[in-house]
Symmetry: C2
Subunit: 711 residues, 2 copies
């Protein structure tokens, strides 16, 4: 084995521990059973959606749609997966078991994402429908919708999740869809008061779903009790016709082939009758007498439980987009090693072409992002595992203080990580596309599709710029405590560093000649985060002091978004990701792997501090660094980029899926991209054929006389 | 007229001067004659390409495909447009006439881009083929391919431009296609020595073109004379069959619908015979005796003429992408005024929803880019006009020193402006998409298509990161002169400020309380550009001094790309764009318009200095600003964003095309986006229909037994 193959191998082992086998089985499953088609090449929405449904059915039939039921993945095919609450089984396992099982699941699902399988998105939404009902519903009748129910498994039920309305998305409190309690019939009536209050964008709804969870304002005797959840039949389970009063349709085309294969839909309801049992009743209920009962009295607890339910989607999306950024990086890095252009003239041969990875700017564009991928991947895993712990506690009903703290921290971390992870993926995917020059633009390079498919994750499950404010709020609470002389400590320790606030202020960077110290980078990251946080809290306090009370909070926060709260939240996330990555890396016993990953983490840290965005000036402005150190930091970044670029092929190969999954003609594992491109181009439909319509050209062009007078 | 309508009206007048009528005629032409179809909704490549060809034919038949022949646009339908050299006619006009004519042309073409007409791209390439032959060919036989030739007009000839090869793009010198002189037959033989030297990516070639200009290495008696241009027949003009030895095919699919409608193609040549006259012979020629003759002896002149020919494409692309960024801005700004979400609770109504444009972060994301659009648009116009002057001089054959200087300056400016303009457009389009939340992702919002269609302009006609190095080289030469105590002066004055180098060093920003002074912003921009330039030239000098000569230049430049030459070139372009915009704005006699545009320019300038990217720290690092001023600059940016956001609707309306051209359901001019969305969604094919394939769902899902063993 060459030394570069060696690095690939050891890194792969470290990252995937003893799950390589799962991974390769997952790939062969995709190869043999799922056969994903290239959605870009399927012409038209209808065809793409058919492929979606085909994939989805296969995923379900292979049992790969579960969220908790990992028994078969544990290699225990006889485990009882039909029991109502799989979590109960799960709980009996040790935590290690659980995490191992999740790992396998994550691998399978990631492998599907790798292959760009839209059926996976459909399956995720179908499951979201089901798991929401399982966690919020208790009635007998709800059991039919639980993940393990036979009707879910055989697709008699096909679910979706309907929150967003035409004129309200982020601002959920203002949703207009109504569910009114009708005392005469002891039932509900679901109604869309205005067409602009229709549910829209709902994935799976446009053509496929039979049922939806619908969020609606609950009204009893003209009094509104706020948003509640209801299970609503949409289409006839046998004939697939829409049900009376349910006007459901397709929400239109998208320019991303994957999302075009999804039947996002709209629906408006015209006085649709629902049984009392349709309300998901774990925490609130309406009695047949029309009484509104809240089952959990403590408001903080109730709020916490609600928040917790929302974190899951964000945790999953964040982890997933980081993983997808990897695909672009593999493609761009491989291609940059294979693609040769200008050469450095040498004595012997006047023109020796070099691979484009040897150009400084190519290195500078790719390496910090490759480094970011590794760091974020570590953090994504942690967050995923932490969230699973939380879910276990939720299921056990054990609402302790510890639980509520975990809940708040995971809420903040997921509201921070989903934005920074998806921004990372967005920028990385675009840069990778550009780094591949002209060939990077072809559909067969896959880079534009990766970018286009990623796009909505910046928006759904909480618009990035809306949810990042939640992190800022969490940090402000913590810093307030610290200012009051109290200690902060969070279950996963993400904010514990704020206790050192006093110590950090006035501190300066000590570096004179090199940043190659984890501690220095770590300190600088903490300093930057604290500096921006304190600056923000001061600005907020000033603004709140200055005007009348009610108005001021809202508008003070609004005026503190740019350069303040947003920047502070981002700097905090940089720090959190860096610390977590270093923890993982320090546990690595393979020296070569540990060194190269350390260099990745250092590059991520230093680049985030002084080169990623406009906040680079903060370290000078606050007096933490001087101009010399700033210069040094930049030199170091370029040097590390160069060094990493030399092993970058090994790095990407360690996390690369097989070629048929990577599915990019410019990045085959043997680097022979011209061969792979020809292979792809020549197989496309009608490559050498004359276009059917070519005779348009031969119809004589009429010279229009009246042009001057028309134009 | 309300005051906001008033602003719209006056701004429109100022920007379009007396060409409004041209503009509205151009729009009605598109409405009546060209009827663009929504390419995203056309299913499949074949259909999209047919639409492309239909549009192209209409464009040609309307006479809208010319580059120089503006007689009919001048309202002079009887002008002789069939003469061989239209420029001769053109030259007889005054410069003002020419610019007026170009204005009209620009309006028509821009209006077509507004409508997203792919036929326009096809027509541009067809013209590029033709104008290149006109400017580089002199033989009788070449006249058949000139823009005014009847065969070009009636589409017997359909042209394309073939430079790029499979394994060589940016590095043109290394192209491998060969043309060998055969003395026996006094003819040429065109050959592709290896399939990876095939011409690829060539627009119009895949299915449509009959002829190509091909760049190939000229070889006479085993000696290579470098790259030359040849006119090569590709397909039979009557039957459209490919010609013997010409293996031409389709280069595959793209994820952008517009580019998928383009038949980018590949071709390889198998010993194809060409007559001697196929070589474009204005500057070089091969005699029947096989002698190589260079007609322009002075190398600098020859090089200059070659460079000049390349500037045209970049000038056009840059202007065009800025113009297209406007479309995204119009959509996002209008939607932000219409879309309401969270409200600021007030005494009277506890929840008053506000348009999202009132959120600071939304303002901060959109306003600097709107300001950039206005400034870049002014610069794009200048560059366009300057380039036309140059073309006139080229045609007149008047190769003076002044000409060569103009040529170099325009080369540098176009190599700088194309990158900064397309990066601006890229980022703006993505941010606009995100600013429109979920609705921004639908095809009917048009934002994703605008972004996807823009993408290749970052790469073609010179990869951004490759050509920006040309600006840096131009600046380095100038600074070297200045360092030698000599004066620099360029015909369009873009580098004249470098003469003040000595004065600027050591200078500091004087601002204490407000940046509202054009001079201060202007000085800071100049300072930043000079600082980065001097820093780069020092680093270069150091590196070159340190190692052996031949090797060092190449590798020294390579090591000075990031944080140095690239940053210096960008800072220079910020300055150039700012100065040019201010010149235009100062000429505006309408106070309201002048004030608002001045604010745009100030915002563009200050934001570029301290907030656009990581180079923000330079001003502190170099001691030009202190921390207080930095803070002040940021506050000012936010305040200006807020102020501009209040008039932003008027601003975008002043540059907005009619709704049917803007073609975005979330941004109708009356701001009633829900109505416009329903209109669009309900008209799409089969909205309420059951999917044909839905019964896939009803086929029982088979539980696969062997899962555990498979996974
Ligand atoms: C492909 C896709 C699939 C989807 N699937 C589903 C689904 O299955 N079920 C479902 O219910 N929904 C779904 N959605 C809808 C999605 O969840 C919403 O679009 C998303 O929550 C964003 O809300 P919005 O569109 O209202 O954005 P808006 O809130 O309207 O955002 C508009 C702009 O305002 C800004 N903004 C808003 N508030 C603030 C603030 N306070 N401060 C600063 N800026 C602010 C935003 O940053 C953004 O720039 C889907 C959307 C897409 C694109
Ligand atoms: C839609 C489309 C249409 C096109 N139409 C035509 C056409 O009609 N006719 C035609 O001839 N061609 C056409 N092209 C090809 C196009 O002109 C080339 O792709 C373009 O010039 C870029 O060259 P490349 O692909 O070789 O990039 P490369 O040079 O291979 O670039 C790869 C990477 O290397 C980097 N790089 C290269 N050199 C350096 C350096 N010295 N320093 C730092 N970084 C460097 C680049 O920045 C990039 O990141 C088209 C391309 C597209 C996508």
């Amino acid at each position: 084995m060459t030394s570069s193959q060696n690095l690939t191998h050891s890194l792969h082992n470290f990252l995937f521990q003893n799950h390589q086998e799962t991974l390769s089985r997952a790939y062969s499953l995709i190869h043999d059973a799922l056969r994903p088609k290239n959605l870009v090449l399927l012409e038209g929405k209808e065809q793409r959606r058919e492929e979606n449904l085909r994939q989805f059915r296969e995923i379900v039939s292979l049992g790969l749609d579960g969220w908790y039921t990992d028994e078969h993945l544990d290699g225990n095919p006889t485990a009882d997966t039909s029991s109502k609450h799989n979590l109960t089984t799960t709980q009996q396992r040790t935590r290690e078991d659980l995490i191992a099982a999740l790992w396998r699941r994550v691998h399978t699902v990631n492998a599907m994402w790798d292959a760009g399988m839209v059926g996976q998105v459909t399956s995720t939404l179908h499951q979201l429908f089901s798991t929401t009902i399982e966690s919020l519903g208790t009635k007998e009748s709800h059991a039919r919708f639980f993940p393990s129910s036979p009707d879910m498994k055989n697709l008699s039920i096909f679910g979706c999740f309907a929150l967003t309305e035409m004129t309200h998305g982020s601002d959920t409190k203002n949703m207009k869809t109504e569910v009114r309690y009708l005392p005469e019939t002891q039932s509900f009536e679901l109604h869309t008061p205005h067409r602009d209050a229709s549910k829209v964008w709902i994935g799976n709804l446009g053509k496929h779903a039979t049922h939806a969870i619908v969020a609606a304002q609950l009204i009893i005797q003209s009094k509104s009790y706020g948003l509640h959840w209801f299970v609503v039949p949409i289409r006839n389970e046998v004939t697939h016709d829409m049900l009376p009063g349910v006007y459901v349709g397709d929400w239109g085309s998208k320019t991303s082939a994957t999302w075009d294969a999804m039947d996002n839909g709209f629906v408006w309801f015209d006085h649709v009758k629902l049984p009392l049992a349709s309300m998901l009743n774990r925490y609130q209920e309406v009695t047949p007498q029309g009484e509104y009962v809240v089952k959990i009295k403590d408001r903080r607890t109730l709020f916490g439980l609600t928040l917790g339910a929302l974190s899951g989607g964000r945790v999953g999306i964040a982890h997933d987009v980081v993983s997808r950024s990897r695909l672009s990086l593999i493609i761009a890095v491989r291609y940059s090693h294979a693609r040769k252009q200008f050469g450095e003239p040498t004595r012997n041969s006047p023109e020796t072409e070099q691979p484009v990875i040897s150009y400084q700017y190519q290195q500078y564009r790719l390496m910090p992002r490759l480094a970011t991928y590794f760091c974020m991947n570590f953090f994504g895993r942690n967050l995923h595992n932490w969230y699973q712990e939380l879910k276990q506690m939720t299921a056990s009903g054990d609402i302790t203080h510890q639980f509520l703290d975990m809940n708040s921290e995971i809420h903040a971390l997921s509201c921070g990580f989903k934005p920074v992870a998806s921004w990372h993926a967005r920028d990385t995917m675009q840069i990778c596309r550009e780094c591949a020059g002209g060939h990077g633009f072809a559909a067969w390079a896959r880079l534009t599709a990766l970018r286009d498919d990623l796009d909505p994750s910046l928006t759904y499950e909480g618009d990035n710029n809306v949810i990042i404010a939640q992190v800022a709020k969490y940090l402000l609470q913590a810093i307030k405590r610290v200012h009051q002389g109290r200690k902060v400590s969070s279950p996963f320790h993400s904010i514990d560093y704020l206790n050192d606030l006093a110590k950090f202020f006035g501190q300066k960077c000590n570096i004179e000649s090199s940043f190659k110290s984890t501690e220095e980078i770590s300190n600088a990251l903490k300093w930057k985060s604290m500096y921006l946080l304190v600056k923000s809290s001061k600005k907020l306090a000033n603004l709140m002091g200055s005007s009348e009370k009610t108005k001021s909070t809202w508008s003070a926060f609004n005026q503190t978004q740019a350069f303040h709260l947003h920047s502070a939240a981002r700097a905090h996330m940089d720090n959190v990701v860096f610390q977590c990555a270093m923890e993982h890396i320090q546990n690595c016993t393979d020296t070569q792997v540990r060194n190269v990953l350390t260099q990745c983490a250092h590059l991520f840290g230093l680049w985030s501090l002084v080169a990623k965005d406009e906040s680079s000036s903060v370290l000078l402005e606050g007096g933490y660094m001087n101009a010399h150190q700033m210069q040094l930091a930049r030199d170091e970044i370029l040097e590390w980029c160069r060094e990493l670029s030399e092993v970058s092929l090994s790095l990407v190969n360690a996390v690369a899926p097989p070629d048929f999954i990577l599915n990019s003609a410019i990045a085959p594992s043997d680097l022979d991209y011209p061969k792979a491109i020809w292979n792809r181009v020549l197989q496309e439909k009608g490559v050498y054929e004359k276009a059917k319509y070519w005779e348009i050209l031969r119809t004589p062009v009429q010279k229009r006389g009246g042009l001057a007078s028309k134009l």
